[in-house]
């Protein structure tokens, strides 16, 4: 390391509030996002538990919740999706870990726009509180699903949650978009402008590459969603007619709108919604690539191909939104383009899968908890991904659209795979964040329950969809062929209850290790990237005004002729 002028304040703020709450330090902001997501994940998981129990025992009166009515079910469903997609999958991998480790892996001590960054968190928190407030207004939380298709979402008369609850939802998501856009500008600028000397783009760890590409996706996608929710808010409250056509009757009363198009919303929403899937999963891919290399003690196989495929997935992600709309009434000619482009995404995804396996092949693998979760990610990514080329075909999607098959597909590839990457990353970076190790035994036990549980819940769900079970049904008794599937639904509920209970192990491990875990050395995993040159936990000042000089690529593992089997990125050339 050589001494370079500091680019940020290195003075430790004395007051606790300034240091841990109203801080502009990227590490504090990252942790704040992490804990916000944890709160959202717990809420979202509770809602899924309530839904699963209600499907099997519809008349059961639960403590605190009473009997769940159809409108409650739809509200839980909408809020579960919103919390998990926005506040968990978009926040932890990107805003949580990204904020904490992007600067450190690039060898700098601060982001480009620290104040904007902190503002992003506070706006996200406000957005979260506004969203939760929807539960407590007359009519309750919205029941139109996280996709909020109008006219159902545009007209207060169309259902119990469609009144103030939906307005709050729209305001919340509008705020979230604002936070996401500010955050992504910060990520992009930091990556392009603030790298340590010698840290060329092609020496960046793949985690940094995925955070960078995800930030570009966020910037473009959330801007469009912001516009869409604003238009819907105007339709609802200012008498505009973007999404509601003429001649409707809802609940026996004529609707005074004319000229809007419900399909316009779907185009705008999915123009955001499909890139959103990649916003959720790309950082997970980066973490998996990174961790497999570290624990196989081998370089990432095909680093350039990995970078190229991330960029390709990000780019193609913007060209496929119409595959959510094959039965929407969209011109059937459009399906040709959307189907082919969607199939094209399978190619860079297959490159990544191939390279993950090739990275592992012949390695001196260390079977730690982060490695287990990373292998779990690869397995779930394969299983969830392989139904993609099937759903990409309009002729087959017509049958499977809006059935449990789709629910199974995206839960495996986005939710479960995404979560596995988060668990892997949590175990991996915990020592750097808190200066203590997480317990391996508990970690391994948690992995086994979650891995088997994920398969036990979501693989049978494909069968429900193939038998024609539509999604978003609050009760199974309305349609006879659906009612006949109750035994399989019961199995899924039992698997879900067990798997969710297993997550308590993670929580116990996390909070116990925070205070009582074994003290962590500065580089417990023998990892070559720059954050591990710092002591554990990371000191407030980061690199303390010094800039490391990078001489090596990020994945120099298995090197011979040295004491250690790896080369730190800032080791002498």
């Amino acid at each position: 390391m050589e001494e370079l002028p500091s680019i940020t304040t290195t003075v430790k703020p004395r007051r606790l509030l300034r240091r841990y709450v109203f801080s502009t330090d990227h590490k504090v902001v990252g942790l704040q996002y992490f804990f916000l997501s944890l709160a959202a994940a717990l809420t979202g998981t509770l809602l899924s538990l309530l839904m699963r129990i209600h499907l099997i025992w519809p008349n059961l009166a639960l403590p605190f919740f009473g009997t769940i009515k159809p409108e409650n079910y739809l509200a839980y469903l909408t809020m579960h999706g919103t919390l998990m997609v926005f506040f968990v999958l978009s926040l932890v991998p990107q805003s949580g870990f990204g904020n904490y480790f992007l600067p450190l892996q690039l060898g700098v001590s601060e982001m480009s726009f620290p104040k904007l960054n902190a503002a992003g968190f506070w706006i996200s928190l406000l957005s979260f509180l506004v969203l939760l407030a929807a539960f407590f207004v007359p009519g309750g939380a919205p029941g139109a699903g996280w996709t909020q298709y109008p006219p159902l979402s545009a007209l207060a008369a169309s259902g119990p949650g469609q009144a103030l609850g939906t307005d709050l939802w729209l305001v919340s998501i509008g705020l979230f978009c604002l936070a996401a856009v500010t955050g992504s500008i910060n990520f992009i600028t930091t990556t392009l402008k603030l790298r340590a000397p010698g840290m060329s783009l092609m020496r960046m760890p793949l985690t940094c590459w995925t955070w960078f590409v995800t930030a570009i996706l966020s910037l473009l996608a959330f801007s469009v969603l912001a516009a869409a929710v604003l238009l819907l808010l105007l339709d609802r409250n200012a008498g505009t007619d973007f999404f509601v056509p003429a001649g409707l009757i809802v609940s026996g009363a004529a609707v005074h709108h004319a000229g809007g198009s419900p399909l316009l919303w779907q185009h705008l929403f999915w123009f955001f919604g499909h890139p959103e899937v990649y916003i959720a999963i790309l950082p997970g891919m980066g973490m998996t690539s990174h961790l497999l290399s570290v624990f196989a003690r081998k370089p990432v196989f095909g680093y350039r191909a990995m970078v190229g495929s991330v960029v390709a997935i990000g780019f193609l992600g913007f060209l496929v939104w119409g595959h959510h709309m094959f039965v929407s009434g969209m011109n059937p000619y459009a399906a040709f383009a959307f189907s082919t482009l969607t199939t094209a995404i399978a190619v860079p995804s297959a490159i990544k899968t191939f390279n993950w396996m090739a990275t592992l092949y012949g390695g001196r693998i260390r079977f730690t908890t982060p490695l287990l979760f990373s292998v779990g990610f690869v397995s779930l990514f394969i299983t969830g991904g392989l139904t993609g080329p099937l759903l990409a075909q309009p002729a087959l999607d017509v049958y499977l659209h809006d059935t449990y098959f789709v629910v199974a597909h995206f839960h495996l590839i986005m939710a479960m795979a995404g979560l596995f990457a988060v668990f892997a990353a949590t175990h991996f970076w915990f020592p750097k964040i808190f200066g203590r190790m997480m317990n391996e035994r508990l970690g391994i036990l948690h992995f086994w329950i979650t891995f088997v549980g994920a398969y036990a819940i979501f693989v049978p769900m494909h069968l429900l969809g193939m038998a024609g079970h539509p999604r978003r049904y609050s009760e199974l008794t309305g349609v006879q062929y659906v009612a006949a599937m109750a035994p399989l639904q019961k199995w899924i509920t039992i698997a879900a209850v067990v798997t969710i209970a297993g997550q308590i192990i993670f929580l116990v491990n996390f909070f116990w290790s925070m205070f009582k875990g074994a003290a962590a050395p500065s580089n417990p995993w023998e990892c070559s990237t720059l954050e591990w040159t710092l002591p554990s936990p990371t000191p407030h000042a980061g690199f303390a005004g010094r800039l490391p000089v990078v001489n090596h690529g990020p994945y120099e593992y298995g090197v011979t002729g040295r004491e250690a089997d790896y080369l730190m990125q800032d080791a002498e050339a």
Binding site: Y149, G252, T343, T403, P470, L488
Partner: protein, 263 residues
């Protein structure tokens, strides 16, 4: 742990394969002209994708074998030839599969229904399906839901009482269809988006307010087939059920006659 993880990957993959082979629930028998081609494509999909799924897990398990070789570890930074071969192979497989699927889509969407197709207008209303037949004159009467809809007075769709074309229109809550003839549906909605899903016909189409969407299929077997709603439309979404009753041509004519007499 290494052995346990490899075993687990293989066992999980085998269990998934067994579940699919045993399939406690499955597709209902296909009873429309298009269902054979769709089911065939599904079968190809399951063999290709199921094969890839098992192979990938087997390869993953092999890759997790700890290298026992002493000396120089296999420290590869990549191999462009292998990468390119794999990429081309998977691209050829998926795009070939995609082309086959697109052909079926063309048949479904771009072949016009036969000229003797039954015309049925389908209207989704929270939480009920209505099916309208044009009656003996073959012309649908004018509808204005906002002005004329009176569900309690037997006019849920809002047929214009002043329009003589609509006098003989038949409105049913059962989709009665003659076997072996194309049916040309016009889908509409009075309030929010619904989706007409007839699993046995391999048919699904959204009914979008403000749009009239055409879709057609041909039932090839008599019987009663359930219809569900596949697009979240509000609290009664789960019970927005109807039945497609496929009958012989004579029975269909008798049914139409009986409904005309009622008018």
């Amino acid at each position: 742990m290494a052995v346990a993880l490899r075993l687990a990957l293989l066992l999980v993959a085998a269990a998934c394969a067994c579940l699919f082979l045993a399939h406690p629930v499955w597709f209902p028998d296909g009873v429309s002209a298009q269902s054979a081609a769709i089911d065939h494509q599904f079968a190809i999909a399951f063999w290709i994708l199921g094969g890839l799924f098992l192979a990938a897990h087997a390869v993953l398990a092999v890759c997790l074998m700890r290298s026992r070789r002493s000396g120089k570890p296999r420290n590869s930074y990549g191999d462009w030839r292998m990468e390119a071969a794999w990429t081309l192979a998977i691209a050829a497989l998926f795009f070939g599969f995609n082309v086959a699927g697109v052909r079926i889509w063309s048949k479904m969407k771009f072949q016009q229904p036969e000229s003797n197709a039954i015309q049925v207008e389908v209207t989704g209303v929270q939480f009920q399906w209505y099916f309208r037949y044009a009656g003996p004159d073959g012309v649908f009467g004018h509808v204005d839901a906002q002005r004329f809809a009176r569900p309690q007075e037997g006019n849920p769709l809002g047929l214009d009482p002043g329009d003589s074309d609509g006098k003989d229109d038949i409105v049913s809550t059962v989709l009665v269809l003659p076997v072996g003839r194309d049916v040309d549906l016009t889908l509409r909605s009075q309030d929010v988006i619904h989706s007409l899903f007839i699993p046995a016909m391999r048919f699904k189409q959204d009914a979008v307010p403000g749009m009239s969407i055409h879709a057609h299929f041909r039932p090839i077997k008599t019987g009663a087939y359930e219809i569900s709603c596949a697009e979240l439309c509000g609290i009664g979404h789960y019970r927005m059920r109807a039945v497609a009753q496929v009958v012989s041509d004579e029975e269909f004519k008798r049914w139409l006659k009986a409904r005309e007499v009622q008018k």
